[in-house]
Every structure is written in C-alpha cells, then in structure tokens.
Assembly symmetry: C2
DNA sequence: CTGAAAGCGCTTACAG
DNA sequence: CTGAAAGCGCTTACAG
C-alpha cells in the first residue's frame, strides 16, 4: 500500500497540515523539514495527484491534439511542448487524429473528460465547434500553426508568408521564372500563407507567376514525390522547385535523384524544414527552416501563462479575458530563416 | 462552475448513489435512467476523474516512454497504442527521452508521480533500475521491442532474427555473397537479433559472412546515408545492402541515388519498415516489414490485461503474479514479413 | 432498485 | 510556525 500524507505526518511527529505546507513549498522550521524529508524518504511517499487535484481542481495535464503523428513537424513540436511542460510538472496527453479530421471532435471530448487543464492543438480545419465548447467551458485553447476563421484564439504562428517569399525571391533573383511550388492541402492555413508569399515575391519584382507551376499535395513523402514528377512532366517544366514541408522535400529529392536530374545543373531546388537533410546531400540544399523547437516552447509557455493566475491583474488591465467577447487571443509570430546551400543555379 | 453528480441527482430527483450507479453502467429503472440522462445533458455534466480516481485508486492513464520521438517506428507504435487505449477510455501520457538515455529514469519517476496505472516502454538500454522500482511498486511495465537482461518483464517483440534471416537469405539465394548490413547501435536488442539472423542465413547455407560488410549506425537518416557510403568505399564493396530500419533505409536510398548507382543493376537492396517508400521508387524495393500497428495494439492489450482484475483467477492458476519471484513475464512474439519487389538482381 | 453515510488523500482558511 | 477540521466529488458496501 502506498504511503499517504498521514503516514508521513505520523512518522515525522507532525500534523498533516504541516507536512502539506512543506510539500507545497511553505516554510517550516528546519528541524521539522528534516523530519519530514526523512519520513518521505523512508516511506517512499509520493503525493496522490488525484486527491490533490480534487481539491485544487487542476490535473496539471495538458492535452495536445495533432492531425497526424506521422509528420516530422508535428513530432518536433510535440517533443518541445512535452519538454517545456514537464519542466513545470505538467504532463502531456497526446491525441492523434491519424489523419482523420472527424476524429478531432471525439478527441477533444476525450480530453475534456480527462479534465486536462488546457488544450494545445493543430486543427485540421479552419474552425472547430469542439474547440469553441472547450474554450467556453473555461479550458484555454492554444493553436499551433493555424488560425480559426470563426473564433479568436491564442496562437503561435510562423511567418510562413515571409519565409516562402524569401525562398521564392532567392530563386527569382537567380533568374528563375517558372518556379514549381509543392504546397500542402489547398485550404489549410499554412498552404495559403506560403502561396501568398510565393505570389508576393513575383509581385514585388514586377513579375507574373505561372499558375501551372503550383502543385498541391497532402504534405506526405509520396505526395512530394508525385508532385515533383508531375511538375517535370509539364509541357514546359519549371527550372526550379520549392517544396514546402519536410516530407515533400524528401519525396522531391528522391524523385529528382531517381529521374537522373542533377541539382542544381538540371533543376534548382529549395526545401523546407529538413535541416538534417540539407547537409546530407551534395550539394547542400538551400532550405527554409521554421523554428520548430521554439514553436513548441512558445505554445507551452503561452498555455502556462493562461493557466497561471499570477497575471490576473494584467488581464484586468487589458480587459482581455476568455469571457470577454472582444477577446482577440494572443498571437505569437515567429520567423523562419532561409539557410543557403548550393542548390540554386543562376541562369 | 462545472456540474457535479450532486447537481445531476437533484435535477433528476434521485440520490447520488443511483446516479453513480447509472453512470457506471449499473441497472436503473427506465424512467430513472431517462431522468438522469436528461439531467446530464442539460447540465453538460462530466464525471470528475479525480474524485473518481481518488476512490478507485486508478487514473486510467498509461505512461508511454520512448527513446526518441524522431523515429517513425516509435511514432507508429505510439499511434496504435493511443488508439487502442483510448478505446478503453485510457489516456496516454507520452514521455520522450529525446535520445538521451539518462532521461529515462527521470521520466519514469515523472510518470510514477503522475500516478499512471502502467508503463509501456521501449528502453534505451538493457536494464533499468527505474523500471524495476516501478514494477516493485506494483505498476505493471510492458516492454516493446526490447528485453531486459536483469529482469523479466511482459514484452511484445517481433521476430527480428527471422525477419533479418529471411531478408539475407533472399539475397544469398540470388547469388550475393558480400552483403552489406546497416544495423543500429551495437548493443541494443534489435540490432543483436537482426545481426543473428543475418549470420544464421549464411550459416544455414553453409556460407561464411564477411565481417567488413557489417556497419553500425544510430538508426538515423544521416546514419544510413553515411553507412551506405562507407560500405561502398570498401576495397571490395558489397553487391547488395540490407538496411534495418525506416530511417537508414531512406538514408541509404538517398545515398545510392546520389552516387549514381542504379538499383538493382549496380547494387541490390533490401530495406526495412518503409512500406510507403517501397512502392514509391522504381523498381519497387524488397522490404522487410514489421507489423507496427499490431505491436502497439498488442502492447496496449497486454497492459490492459494486466490491469483488469477479471483474470485474477487465471493468475492464481498459473501462479504468475508480479510478486511471484519466479515470474517470467508474458512474451508476445509477432512475425514480420518480407515484401518482395524488384530491387534484387540475381548474379 | 434505491438511498444514507463513510471515506478516498489531499488543501486550505482559520485559530492558536 | 503549527494543528484541528471542513470539504473537494466521487464510489461502495450496507440497509431497506
């Protein structure tokens, strides 16, 4: 049988109130702390989180909801979130929709039943009734890499528009005009942003984009492979390609190598998020890099801030609380950076 | 304020005991169930898991500990575990050691503090003091893809020896003799098993293996890339290569393509665990496939079985309980299969 | 089938 | 700084 605070109190010769105070970081005279510490050790005592939670109404757990565990980007972010949360003694409950968007509502309900203190999510679509319900129930929701159309919500974003613009500009300045871009699903937030950046690069240089060079995929390895092939099968193939996530970058490179094309002699190339790969192949690939680690960290921190009552006064100052219907959500925008390699040929 | 069982009871005009019984699946006369159901709906009532847990001494959560979230194999298994556990209303708490084995003990302690009902883990080494402590504390531990040297533990394994033997035999029968193998870290369980299978294939055909064709890696994409390069730089390069996990398979293929070698004309190749890739490249790759989905499922089921008291009688029959020091652990061995492509040339 | 009551192991004002 | 006591929201024998 596991030891309880009662056992510790008895062994230390003190009341449970004192032991509780000690455990929670309150001040207790030295002799007593020593006795308590000793008792905890001998009994191998661990606080019963459920009894504590019942009183405090907090589980110290955060639900993390992602569209699919099979995307490196998601996993990197989860890893960073978990790391940051565990530092504050929060546990991370991961829910994977396995690529099935209809699972999202089910999983959110599951998390709510599990009484998580908050939810960090990367939604599959641009709105979520379930997320709204959670927010209304007082469970903070933090969005990662997405926005909702129908509801303002705390969120951590990367300036993907700028990053895609930088990548495209790099290619345009090297003289490329027909630049293939391998996007994700057409309607999701990051695709829209990256495509905006792509167009904007042309626009700023007074050039016109070629719509037949725009290819949508499911952001998978296979999708990238096929997208690259179909781009190269165009009557007039692009002279450069930009892949916009980890998986499509790898898929593209495989397709390029397979077809016998040489980078950059036959095709210039810029990848996304695959820092590990960029140095692997020769020549080194120019790569647009998102600060994945920081995304996860910031999302975790933002959540922690929402949960921590210590900024109560701040809230009332700004008038931004969850029940305030003018609430706009806090937005954190991080910037990516372009890592220059030798995969672009000047023409 | 969230509604409690008391509120539901009041609204339904019944006692909390009856409501509790209803919630937990007990029989209640129809009129009353309807009233309770109605009350739950109107109040948007959800059981307080902490209050329940305090009584039942169960959190209905399972900790899952993996060496690194950056391995596709781990993620696939986690996904399956989560899916299976959530079906039984268990939540999954994921802890990632981020490739740092020294984190393992820390994370296990974290899970214990969080009072998970059980731990499913893929340990980084061949023993774990922390895992032993957990098991001793009555927390079931299920190992995935690993065994401990120092302690018997429930485990779900794949017959990697057989799978590697099959793959190697396939190459030997095609006439290859110098077969490169890209393993993982030298001392981990799967590496040992796969290497055993490799040797055994030679042995069964009365042939001798070439030790210089054996290459160890960290199972990463980069590791696979480099391992392949160094194999091909041998004074006498292998005529075939077997990569033994997802990442080294992708890395190898990239290195092969990059070097201009053609599969299978210049080099025969067998990969591992990369079903998505095997059909992607031309020719289709012969691939050793582990039943990842099933590994996760079985691990979850095994854990659930350990937790469910309904097999109490069975336990006493077999005399296998956790406190029994002759306990050998339950071992589930799954078999992989070789998916034949056209990446092997007969010589 | 239903209800009154005890108790799970904590935290938290409130006294002292 | 310390302790007695109430109470968090459930479940579970035990009566009826």
């Amino acid at each position: 049988m596991a030891a309880t605070i009662k056992d510790v109190a008895r062994l230390a010769g003190l009341s449970i109130a004192t032991v509780s105070k000690y455990i929670n970081g309150g001040h207790v005279i030295d002799a007593n702390s020593a006795a308590i510490e000793q008792a905890i050790k001998t009994l191998d005592y661990r606080v019963n989180t459920m009894a504590r939670g019942l009183k405090t109404k907090k589980t110290k757990s955060i639900g993390v909801l992602i569209p699919s565990v099979r995307m490196v980007f998601c996993m990197d972010i989860i890893s960073a979130i978990e790391d940051e949360l565990s530092r504050e003694n929060f546990s991370t409950m991961i829910c994977d929709c396995q690529g099935r968007p209809e699972q999202e509502a089910v999983k959110i309900e599951f998390l709510l039943e599990k009484q998580v203190d908050g939810i960090i999510m990367m939604p599959s679509s641009n709105s979520s009734e379930a997320a709204r319900r959670a927010a209304l129930a007082g469970i903070p929701v933090v969005l990662v890499d997405r926005r909702f159309n129908t509801m303002e919500c705390d969120r951590v974003l990367v300036d993907n528009r700028q990053l895609a613009e930088d990548a495209t500009t790099e290619l345009l300045q090297a003289g490329h005009r027909r630049i293939g871009i391998i996007c994700g699903p057409e309607d999701i937030y990051t695709t829209v942003q990256r495509l905006n950046g792509y167009y904007q690069a042309y626009e700023k240089l007074g050039l016109e984009a070629y719509n037949d060079c725009i290819s949508f995929s499911d952001y998978s390895l296979e999708g990238g492979y096929k997208a690259l092939d179909s781009l190269m099968e165009l009557p007039e193939p692009p002279t450069a390609v930009l892949a916009t996530n980890y998986e499509t970058t790898i898929g593209s490179v495989m397709a390029i190598n397979r077809s016998g094309l040489k980078i950059p002699e036959d095709l210039s190339f810029v990848g996304f998020d695959s820092l590990d790969m960029s140095t692997l192949v020769t020549p080194a690939l120019t790569m647009a890099i998102q600060p994945v680690q920081e995304i996860g960290e910031q999302a975790a921190r933002l959540m922690l801030r929402r949960l921590d009552p210590q900024d109560k006064n701040k809230k009332s100052e700004s008038g931004q609380t969850h029940s305030d219907n003018k609430y706009k959500g806090e937005e954190i925008i991080l910037t990516g950076k372009l890592n220059r390699g030798a995969s672009i040929k000047t023409i």
